[in-house]
């Protein structure tokens, strides 16, 4: 295999520990983000996800300041943000843009302070890029168990609540009338979302985290008419983007004479964006056809 694919896979790709770790974590996160992202897009909560990413940045920077890995920081802060959001009810009201914007700005400002203080204490400078834009090749292998546990929790939550969640996404009125605890379900889902955003932040950086969550899901929703298939397709697209991103980033080391690799996050986000644009074509055609027959 490596024979005819050798132009794609540069020397050392399959033997590198960093690549192994990146592939394991990237695949796990892409599956979880793809599946959950379908609900995020359907519920129109992409902005909540973005907010968790921003607030997670503060957590990741704080973790750097105290000298631990970023994932616990991302996780704690985005879960706290989910709790606050639920208390304030931000997920419903759209008139809260202003308050949300100011809070998110403050969170990022705090992140800037933490990153500055951290780099003066630890005498390193790469942390800002790692936290904001991700650096999956530098994630230690020891992070894998935590990633697996968090991913398992999100998947378990989805398996349990996906049907009533879908029903309450379609119509909260119908769901309530049928005895679905819509509010509790919304909160549970929001916690799963916060966890997923933290995982995405570890993979492609906190600022870019929503790209992996929303992009594949949005593309899948445009492509298929069935909810189950949308979840499968979204996860598949996410995994494909992450794998291709990792391969290209690894290869990019040899692209220039200076031997500097481009960031994985750039490739992943660029691929996701391309897939999203492509996915618009059939949906656009379908709508045009429908308009023609009904109008």
């Amino acid at each position: 295999m490596s024979h005819f694919l050798s132009p794609l896979f540069q020397a050392g790709f399959f033997t590198s520990d960093a690549v192994h770790t990146a592939l394991i974590i990237g695949t796990t996160v892409a599956v979880v983000a793809g599946a959950l992202g379908v609900f995020t897009v359907m519920r129109g909560q992409s902005f909540a996800a973005e907010a968790f990413g921003d607030i997670g940045t503060t957590g990741g920077s704080g973790a750097f300041l105290v000298g631990v890995g970023p994932l616990p920081g991302f996780l704690i802060f985005s879960v706290l943000a989910a709790g606050a959001m639920e208390l304030v009810g931000i997920q419903r009201g759209r008139g809260r843009d202003l308050a949300t914007g100011i809070v998110l700005g403050a969170a990022l400002g705090l992140a800037a302070l933490f990153l500055y203080l951290g780099s003066t204490i630890h005498n390193t400078t790469g942390a800002a890029v790692t936290i904001l834009f991700g650096s999956i090749f530098t994630v230690p292998t020891s992070t894998i168990p935590l990633v697996a546990v968090l991913a398992g929790i999100v998947v378990a939550i989805l398996l349990v609540i996906h049907r009533p969640l879908l029903l309450s996404t379609i119509s909260p009125e119908i769901a309530t009338a049928r005895g679905v605890p819509v509010r509790l379900l919304g909160t549970t889902y929001l916690l799963a979302l916060a966890t997923t955003v933290a995982l995405c932040a570890l993979t492609i950086g906190s600022i870019l985290s929503t790209a992996l969550l929303i992009g594949p899901a949005a593309a899948a929703l445009r492509t298929t008419r069935r909810p189950g298939r949308a979840v499968l397709l979204s996860a598949l697209l996410g995994v494909a983007a992450v794998w291709l991103g990792i391969v290209l980033a690894y290869d990019s080391y040899w692209w220039s004479a200076k031997h500097t690799s481009w960031p994985v996050s750039f490739f992943v986000v660029a691929i996701v964006f391309g897939v999203y644009l492509l996915s618009g074509v059939p949906a656009w055609r379908e709508r045009r056809r429908t308009n023609r027959t009904t109008g």
Binding site: E173, I174, T176, A177, R226
Partner: protein, 295 residues
């Protein structure tokens, strides 16, 4: 309109009087002296009526008369501050499989990955947690319901791309698939053109007759329902009077309900209710919906 003894035109005295139309049929819904408040405002006051299997009942009242609140009380979403609601002779439980519900103003995003048949199938058990195994029975049952509402032509289209009338039919199938005894539809004719409205009314009448389901729909306009309605529950300012349309929609009865003089005019088989002059006129929907389609 078959079966049952001939109806004696009974004198309707006050709001609580309610002559049983078809005493031989089973009582599906019984609302007994219900009061309901929203905050400090009394929205329903001493509302009593009953609905029997196979009957088509219209809940008529202007905007703000308490129609949606009455539905919410029947569904158990708003508590009655006095009185009680019985379903098939028993006190209603939180989630009642005896009721199929079609909410008001249903608008689904065109990007929602949901075919009409998926939405119908969700009516079976989407309120349950955990995984549903796809089965032939589910598919056939959904197919049956789609056929019952004449929706097979667009069964594989995205629900969000269907017209208002088509979505309404799919929602009715979604509500019916759980084999309810009572079908509640909140303003199903709102936002429909005249032809779609007539089609939906005819469909609901057919369902009541053929499946022996009690159909109870709210509307602010009585005329589309007149040809098929067995009973009307007329709401004004939170009080109700019910009975066969010809006994309720009369100047003397409605004047007592409104507490001031009300004119009821019959023009070309249509009924026009003039619920007062000046400000009262603004409070009541006054329209001539089918004037153009009259032969």
């Amino acid at each position: 309109m078959s079966g049952g003894p001939a109806v004696e035109p009974a004198e309707v005295e006050g709001s609580a009087q309610d002559g049983p139309i078809r005493p031989d049929r089973e009582e599906v819904l019984s609302v007994e002296q219900v009061n309901a408040r929203l905050g400090t405002r009394t929205v329903l006051e001493d509302v009593s009526f009953e609905i029997r299997a196979g009957e088509f009942t219209g809940l008529i009242g202007s905007n703000g008369a308490g129609k949606t609140t009455l539905f919410r009380v029947i569904l158990g979403l708003t508590p009655a501050s006095r009185g009680r609601v019985l379903l098939a002779g028993r006190a209603r439980s939180r989630r009642n499989p005896l009721i199929g519900y079609v909410p008001q103003k249903f608008l689904l995003d065109p990007d929602m990955p949901l075919r009409a048949r998926d939405l119908v199938a969700l009516g079976i058990d989407a309120h349950r947690f955990g995984i549903a195994r796809p089965s032939r029975w589910r598919r056939e049952r959904a197919e049956e319901m789609l056929a019952a509402v004449d929706a097979l032509d667009f069964a594989d289209k995205r629900v969000g791309l269907l017209s208002g009338g088509e979505q309404q039919r799919v929602l009715i199938a979604h509500a019916l698939i759980g084999a309810p005894r009572l079908l509640l539809a909140d303003e199903p004719l709102a936002n429909l053109d005249l032809r779609s409205a007539d089609e939906v009314v005819a469909l609901l009448a057919k369902i009541a007759r053929e499946q022996q389901i009690a159909v109870f729909i709210s509307a602010h306009e009585i005329n589309p329902l007149l040809p098929v309605m067995d009973r009307v529950v007329y709401l004004a300012a939170g009080r109700a009077v019910s009975g066969p349309a010809e006994e309720v929609v009369r100047s003397d009865v409605l004047s007592r309900l409104y507490g001031h003089h009300v004119d009821v005019l019959h023009v070309h088989g249509r009924v026009i209710v003039i619920a007062g002059a000046g400000e009262d006129l603004h409070g009541h929907e006054l329209r001539f919906p089918h004037a153009e389609t009259d032969p």
